[in-house]
C-alpha cells in the first residue's frame, strides 16, 4: 500500500541513519556512541549552533511580530474587498517564490558596487564605503535574515489574517460600544482567537528556520568564515564535502530528537487545531 511506500522512503532511511551513526568514519566497524559523544567536543558545531540560534531567534520573532501587527492593521484599516484582495496577492507572491530565486533577487540587489540597495543608500545621503553585504559576519547574518523575513513574514500575516476573519463581528462591535479601545479589543477579543494559530505559526516557523538551507547557500554559502554556517549547511559540509556520513548522521539524529520533542509537546494542540 501507499503507506508502505512512505515507510520505505522515510522510515528505512531513518534506521539506516542510526546504523551509519554507530559506525566509525572510513574504517567502519561498530563505534558505539563515539560519533554522538564527539559532537560535544566539536567546536565548529558549537559555532554553527550559535549562528543557527541567532538566525532562528531573529527571523522567527521579527516575522511573527511583524505579521501579527500587520494582520491586525490590515484588518482594521483596509475595509474594501479590492484592497484586501490586493494585499492577499501581494503577500502570496514572495511565499511561492523558490528560495533559490529569492537568493538570486537579493544577490542582485546587494551587489556592493552597483547593487540598487547601495545606490539608494548613497542617494539618501549615505557617504562612506559601499557596504559589503555578504562580507562581514554581522551584515551577512542581517542579509540572510532579511531574505527569510521578506519571504515568510507574509505566511504569518496570511494565517493570522485568516484567523481574524473568524472573530465574530458582533462581539467586536459590542466591545466598541462599550468603549473598548484598540488595544483592549486586541488583547481581550482578537488575541484569544488567534492563540492556536499563533502556536501553529510558531511551530512552522521554528522548524522551517531551523532547517534553512536554500537561500543561504545561494547568498553566502555559509560565509564569511562560518558566520552563517547554519546547522543544515554544517551538516552539508560534513556529509558531502568531507563525506563523513557517519558523524553527520549522528548530528542529524540529534536534530530529529529535538524536533520530535517539539512536535510531541505541541502535536496535541496542533492536530486538534487542524483536524
Amino acid at each position: 500500500m501507499p503507506v508502505l511506500f512512505l515507510l520505505t522512503v522515510v522510515v528505512y532511511p531513518l534506521f539506516y541513519a542510526i546504523a551509519l551513526s554507530l559506525q566509525y568514519y572510513r574504517i567502519g566497524g561498530f563505534a558505539g556512541l563515539h560519533n554522538f559523544a564527539f559532537a560535544f567536543q566539536d567546536a565548529l558545531l558549537g559555532d554553527s549552533l550559535r549562528a543557527t540560534a541567532i538566525y532562528v531567534g531573529l527571523a522567527m520573532s521579527v516575522e511573527c511580530l511583524l505579521g501579527l501587527v500587520l494582520a491586525v492593521a490590515v484588518q482594521r484599516t483596509v475595509k474594501s474587498v479590492l484592497g484586501r484582495t490586493l494585499a492577499y496577492l501581494l503577500f502570496i507572491v514572495p511565499m511561492v517564490t523558490p528560495p533559490v530565486a529569492a537568493g538570486v533577487i537579493f544577490r542582485l540587489m546587494l551587489i556592493p558596487d552597483y547593487g540598487i540597495v547601495n545606490v539608494l543608500l548613497r542617494d539618501v545621503g549615505y557617504r562612506g564605503q559601499p557596504i559589503l553585504w555578504m562580507s562581514s559576519p554581522a551584515m551577512a547574518m542581517l542579509s540572510v535574515v532579511t531574505v527569510d523575513v521578506w519571504q515568510w513574514m507574509p505566511f504569518v500575516f496570511l494565517v493570522l489574517y485568516a484567523g481574524l476573519q473568524a472573530v465574530p463581528l458582533d462581539v467586536v462591535e459590542a466591545a466598541e460600544v462599550d468603549g473598548a479601545g484598540a488595544w483592549a479589543r486586541f488583547r481581550h477579543i482578537e488575541l484569544p482567537y488567534l492563540k492556536p494559530l499563533l502556536l501553529l505559526v510558531l511551530v512552522f516557523r521554528f522548524t522551517d528556520t531551523l532547517r534553512v538551507f536554500d537561500h543561504v547557500q545561494v547568498l553566502t554559502m555559509g560565509g564569511p568564515g562560518a558566520s552563517t554556517e547554519f546547522l543544515s549547511l554544517y551538516l552539508y559540509s560534513i556529509a558531502f564535502k568531507f563525506s563523513n556520513l557517519n558523524y553527520a548522521s549522528a548530528i542529524a539524529l540529534y536534530v530529529v530528537i529535538v524536533i520530535s520533542i517539539v512536535f510531541a509537546l505541541t502535536s496535541r494542540y496542533l492536530t486538534e487545531e487542524i483536524a
Binding site: V74, K79, P98, V104, L108, L158, G179, D214, S232, L235
Partner: protein, 307 residues
C-alpha cells in the same frame, strides 16, 4: 463605516452634547491619522515587496554593456532578451528546464495517485479511529522533519541501489515528501462530500471504483487540482535533494542551474537574473491560479481561506 455608526450612538441622547461632540471629532480625527499612517506603511511595504521583482526583471532585460553603468539605470534603456537566450540556450540550461518539468509532472502524478489511495480509505472505509489519528499525525510530523536530516541516509541508499544522478530518484523523493500535505488536503475535501451521495451511487448499482471515479472524483476535482499545482510548485522550488542527488545535466533540475550560475567566479548578472525570473515565474503563475488553496495547503488545512 461601521466604526462611525457606532461612535455616534452613545452621543445621541446626551443633552450636554458639546464636550462629547468635541471628543468624538477628536477621536475620529486621530483615527483617520492612524489609518493614514497604516496605509502609508502598507504602501511602503508593498513597494518593498514588489521592487525586488521589478529589479530582477529589469536586470534580466539589460544588455551586458548596461549592467555596469553608473548610476545604474532603473529601467533598461535598450531592453533585450539576449540574457535569456544566452542563459537558457547558450549555457545549456534548457536541458535542466526540461528535467524539472519531467520531474515535477511525474511527482505530481505519483503524489496524487498515492494521496488519493491513502485519503480515500481514511475517510470512506471503516478504519479504527486510533489508527486514523495516528497515521494523520505521523504524516503531519513528517512535515517538520528537516530534509537535511533525511537526505544523508537517502543519499547513501540511492547510491547503493544505483539511482544516483537519475531523475527517477528525485521523482520518488519529491512524491514522498509532498504526500503528507496532499493527504491532509484531500482528506479535507473528501470529508466535505456527504456519504449519502456515494451511497446513492451504490444503490444504483455502481461498484466502489465506479462510484469513486464517476461521482466522487469529479466532486473533489478542484481539491485534486490544487494539490497537484502545489505539489508541482514545491517540487519545482526544491533545491537540497536536487543538489545532493544529482551530478550532471542528465538529471539536474532548474534550481541547480540557477544556483550554479550564482557560484561561478565571475557572475554574469543579467543572465543570472534571467534564470531567476524563469525560476520564480513558473510557481508564481501556477499559484496565483489556485491562490485560495496556498495557505490551506501550507498549514495542512488548518486555515481555510477564501480570497
Amino acid at each position: 463605516m461601521t466604526n462611525e455608526v457606532h461612535a455616534a450612538r452613545p452621543a445621541a441622547p446626551a443633552s450636554p452634547a458639546q464636550p462629547s461632540v468635541v471628543r468624538r471629532v477628536r477621536t475620529r480625527r486621530r483615527r483617520n491619522a492612524v489609518r493614514g499612517l497604516v496605509l502609508a506603511a502598507l504602501g511602503a511595504l508593498a513597494i518593498a515587496y514588489l521592487f525586488p521583482f521589478v529589479w530582477m526583471i529589469s536586470t534580466s532585460l539589460k544588455p551586458t554593456s548596461e549592467l555596469y553603468t553608473q548610476p545604474p539605470t532603473f529601467f533598461p534603456v535598450q531592453p533585450t532578451l539576449d540574457a535569456y537566450q544566452a542563459a537558457l540556450i547558450g549555457a545549456g540550461n534548457w536541458v535542466l528546464l526540461r528535467n524539472s518539468v519531467i520531474v515535477c509532472l511525474s511527482a505530481v502524478a505519483l503524489t496524487l495517485a498515492l494521496a488519493l489511495l491513502i485519503a480515500y480509505p481514511l475517510t470512506r472505509l471503516r478504519v479504527a479511529p486510533r489508527f486514523r489519528r495516528g497515521l494523520l499525525s505521523w504524516l503531519l510530523s513528517l512535515r517538520f522533519l528537516p530534509s537535511m536530516v533525511v537526505v544523508i541516509p537517502i543519499f547513501a541508499t540511492v547510491r547503493t541501489v544505483g539511482l544516483y544522478d537519475r531523475l527517477i530518484a528525485l521523482i520518488l523523493i519529491y512524491a514522498a515528501f509532498s504526500l503528507p500535505f496532499a493527504v491532509w488536503m484531500l482528506k479535507g475535501f473528501l470529508q466535505e462530500v456527504p456519504q449519502e451521495i456515494e451511497d446513492a451511487a451504490f444503490v444504483d448499482g455502481a461498484g466502489r471504483w465506479r462510484a469513486f471515479f464517476r461521482i466522487l472524483l469529479p466532486m473533489v476535482s478542484p481539491g485534486v487540482l490544487a494539490a497537484g499545482v502545489i505539489t508541482f510548485a514545491l517540487a519545482w522550488s526544491e533545491f537540497l535533494y536536487a543538489l545532493i542527488l544529482t551530478a550532471t545535466p542528465r538529471s539536474q533540475t532548474f534550481s541547480i542551474g540557477v544556483w550554479s550560475f550564482v557560484t561561478e567566479f565571475e557572475i554574469i548578472w543579467n543572465q543570472m537574473a534571467a534564470l531567476g525570473v524563469v525560476s520564480a515565474l513558473v510557481p508564481i503563475c501556477l499559484l496565483l491560479f489556485s491562490r485560495r488553496y496556498v495557505i490551506s495547503a501550507l498549514t495542512f488545512g488548518a486555515v481555510r481561506d477564501q480570497s
